[in-house]
């Protein structure tokens, strides 16, 4: 039971961060992605702060043999830059540039009843489900990064 509670807490803090940073607002995200007058660097600042904390936190956690509530760390094992990674990132980037939403802000927006996120959500869900129909390249399921 502690595991799910811990995940809930992580979700709350993550959602709070997305909301306070302005990243739940696709207008601010698109103002970063759209180069030209009115360019807004917020997303870069948010990413830099988040990456800094995470880098330090991961290093400190790395000294432990296992996480607090599980028997092992579930680190993605893959190292190769394969075709699926590249094509997936291209497809995602195009969608992100069209809508201004990536998954986290879209979920925060939909759950706080932002009409833009609610318009984004059906396509997002269909896209995720459609992927389940794509044949896996090998016996090994690709790890989530």
């Amino acid at each position: 039971m502690m595991g799910p509670v811990s995940a809930l807490l992580a979700g709350v803090i993550f959602g709070l961060g997305l909301s306070i940073s302005g990243m739940a607002d696709p207008t601010i995200v698109l103002a970063f992605l759209t180069l030209g007058p009115g360019w807004n660097a917020s997303l870069l600042v948010v990413m830099a702060a988040a990456v800094t904390v995470t880098t330090i936190g991961y290093r400190l956690a790395g000294r432990r043999p296992a996480p607090l509530l599980d028997s092992e760390f579930h680190a993605p094992a893959r190292r190769d830059i394969d075709q699926r990674l590249v094509i997936g990132a291209v497809v995602f980037g195009v969608g992100w540039g069209l809508a201004g939403y990536c998954p986290g802000p879209a979920i925060v927006g939909a759950l706080t009843l932002d009409p833009r996120a609610l318009a984004f959500l059906p396509g997002f869900v269909v896209g995720m489900i459609a992927f389940e129909a794509v044949p896996k390249p090998s016996a090994r399921q690709p790890e989530q990064a």
Binding site: G3, S21, V53, A66, V86, V90, L98, V125, F131
Partner: protein, 133 residues
């Protein structure tokens, strides 16, 4: 600017907490897919997603959201199409802004760095062509 820094620090803290407590990468596309397609396998992804909503509500008490522009047909088409591509692309590419952009880069993963450069680049190209003046 202050809000962006505080928000970013919180996102990092959440990612670190999920790693220290459950040993999981805070990759929202993967977690959302697990919650959506395999909800009975484990409970934690569903609760993480629920937490995002709670955190979002709480955050609106700190930073009041900007007025939401009227949604025209054009916007709805862009949002729907964008949703399809983001849903499919993040699954095919094994991650999104959180999993690759924050957690992957913090792990010094070459895959995640490559993915992040590609999706930010494509996002900028697309947004500038579609939304630019």
């Amino acid at each position: 600017m202050t809000n962006a820094i505080i928000g970013g620090l919180l996102i990092g803290a959440a990612a670190v907490w999920l790693w220290i407590s459950l040993g999981r990468i805070a990759g929202i596309s993967g977690i959302a897919a697990q919650a959506l397609t395999r909800p009975r396998q484990s409970l934690w992804p569903l609760l993480f997603v629920a937490g995002l909503g709670i955190g979002g509500w709480l955050g609106q008490g700190v930073r009041h959201p900007e007025a939401i522009p009227e949604l025209g047909v054009d916007s709805i088409v862009l949002l729907t199409l964008g949703g399809l591509l983001v849903g499919f692309g993040t699954r095919l590419g094994s991650g999104c802004t959180s999993g690759h952009g924050v957690c992957g880069i913090a792990r010094f993963s070459r895959r995640s760095l490559a993915a992040t450069v590609i999706f930010v680049g494509m996002g900028m190209l697309t947004a500038t062509l579609v939304h630019g003046t």
